[in-house]
């Protein structure tokens, strides 16, 4: 269903830094904004900056930010004609996108069917394989222990047991041998059912020396689709990305082209609309890349791509949702220089990154033309304990990777936050590390780094 109608008021169905990001893009386009907030966010920056803020429920997300009916009602009641879901929460719940269609609201994102399809990780793998994109050696749906053990003989250990309805690092168990496989399989189905409403499981070979490389894509209602190059998000802790950068330091131009073309092929096969990211695993030992999954939303780390390409992805999402064509062609997109993002959380690195919400006393972010800080925080802000601990994203750019690292170091040195613990000191240590600076990392590197730096 094409929505070629313009809209003038957008409801932001999210909170925190991304709500501010969306709000800014709306303002720049001359659109009015409605922020939905839980009771805990009534004094948030988004509530203060939006043209209107409406309270949708008590603090727990399940009673507020995840309430589709309430959010739709809030849009209808405030005259908002479009809804931007941000990331997380309802961004990849096809039911919100469907409800928008039913109530004649514009969903700023892909079509419900695309969200649903790519949310089924078994389907997505099969689709990629069918169009000739390599996928991680693995299985389709596993129906029981016998089938699993047999597939494991073919694939070898360690193995990942994954939930079809998972994604984003959720619903994954690692089995080192057949007995672990049987035990985890028994648990994984029930856990997946509870978490995702879908107990289907599949398996993938565990790739030890891996990098996580993802490609940003964008499509409009006319079927124009482009890629905006890749991001390297290998530095993760428990499947949560900690540092993201572009370009990937180890990709050759030829490989970059191959991966971006593979991403486009996947996006084209479902005629993807709006912003999306296709994730790949790069096996550094075998020098192969494999499709991992597709995320049908704007991602946390989108500013990295905005810095290297000079393009505004959230603004583009809004324009596409209004029915406008992509404002750039593939041959007009250039990636220049290097950009790095660090996610600053209210967590104590010394205590295993335990979340420590509280009241920020002083908040002073660095100010530099080659730095960008996306945040919802300010001096005196009380961080509610009900949500994730992301305080800010700090993104640096440089003509090359070393410059980007040095600019980031300067930025972190001038980032003053008191009243709560933050992960700023952790990143300061990480950026000094020789292996990090050389670019020689892999997806388990951060965990090794954390163990070795405990001695400091």
């Amino acid at each position: 269903m094409d929505r070629r109608k313009p809209f003038s008021r957008v409801l932001i169905a999210n909170r925190g830094e991304i709500a501010i990001r969306i709000l800014r893009a709306c303002r720049e386009l001359g659109l009015e904004t409605v922020a939905v907030v839980s009771e805990a966010d009534k004094q948030s920056l988004a509530a203060l900056m939006a043209d209107r803020a409406v309270c949708i429920g008590p603090p727990p997300p399940i009673k507020s930010y995840l309430q589709i009916d309430t959010i739709i009602a809030a849009a209808l009641g405030t005259g908002a004609q479009a809804i931007h879901p941000g990331y997380g929460f309802l961004a990849e719940q096809p039911e919100l996108a469907e409800a928008c269609e039913r109530y004649d609201l514009v969903f700023i994102g892909p079509r419900p069917e695309q969200i649903r399809r790519m949310g089924d990780k078994i389907w997505a793998r099969k689709m990629a394989r069918d169009i000739g994109v390599p996928v991680i050696p693995g299985s389709e749906q596993i129906h029981g222990a016998e089938e699993a053990v047999k597939a494991a003989e073919r694939l070898g250990y360690p193995l990942l047991i994954k939930a079809a309805g998972g994604g984003g690092g959720r619903g994954i168990k690692v089995a080192e041998n057949a007995s672990e496989l049987k035990v985890f399989l028994a648990e994984a189905g029930a856990e997946a059912h509870a978490a995702f409403g879908d107990d289907r499981l599949y398996m993938e070979k565990f790739i030890g020396n891996a990098r996580h490389i993802e490609v940003q894509i964008m499509g409009d209602q006319r079927g124009n689709l482009v890629h905006l190059f890749e991001r390297d998000c290998s530095l993760q802790r428990r499947h949560q990305k900690m540092v993201e950068e572009s370009p990937c330091p180890v990709l050759t131009p030829h490989l970059r082209q191959e991966i971006c073309d593979a991403a486009l092929a996947i996006a084209r096969s479902i005629k993807y609309l709006s912003a999306g990211t296709i994730e790949f695993i790069w096996d550094q030992d075998r020098e192969n890349f494999y499709f991992l999954e597709m995320n049908t939303r704007i991602q946390v780390e989108h500013p990295v791509t905005e810095f290297t390409t000079g393009l505004d992805l959230v603004r583009e999402q809004i324009r596409i949702a209004r029915g406008e064509d992509l404002s750039f062609r593939q041959d007009e997109i250039r990636a220049e220089g290097h950009a790095i993002e660090c996610r600053i959380n209210a967590e104590s690195p010394a205590q295993g990154f335990f979340p420590c919400p509280g009241q920020i006393r002083e908040w002073k972010a660095p100010d530099d033309p080659n730095l960008r800080v996306d945040t919802h925080c300010f001096s005196g802000y009380s961080i509610p304990p009900y949500y994730d601990s992301l305080l800010a994203k700090i993104i640096s750019r440089g003509r090359n990777r070393l410059e980007a690292i040095e600019t980031m170091e300067q930025g972190l040195a001038h980032f003053h936050v008191t009243g709560v613990d933050t992960t700023i000191p952790f990143y300061q240590g990480l950026l000094k590390n020789a292996a990090y600076r050389s670019g020689a990392v892999h997806t388990r590197w951060i965990e090794d780094f954390m163990i070795s730096s405990k001695g400091d």
Partner: protein, 142 residues
Amino acid sequence: MNRITAKEVLEILNKVKQSRIEEITLEMGRFTFQARKSTPPKESPPAEIYPDPIAGPPTARLILAPRLGFFRQAVHPGDLPLVKLNQCVEEDTPVGFIQVLEKMDPVPAGIQGRIVRICVADGKMVEYREPLFLVEESREKR
């Protein structure tokens, strides 16, 4: 960092007990403390000609929207509203509905007393915990 001791909690509890406060919620950082008084049954007072000098003026309490939606004073537009000004209500008296898409959620008064103000117009969107009615709570519990 905000801290509260057990002694302080007891002090607060005692003060609440001695006051006319019915319910208190205290949030400090990650700590939440909630206490509600259950009023013991009172004997029915004699007919009031003069205000009761011991009990003091009546307590006014708000009926708040239990969720965001459109306030409906009756099931169908044009019907007589469920309640009117100065009407006495019991705790389980429905005072209106919150309409969310196709669903109509009835709103029980939650208070025994007399409606002294209607705070919201029929059909208006109300936010979570937005005031709907002001009720003068009756001092007599039946």
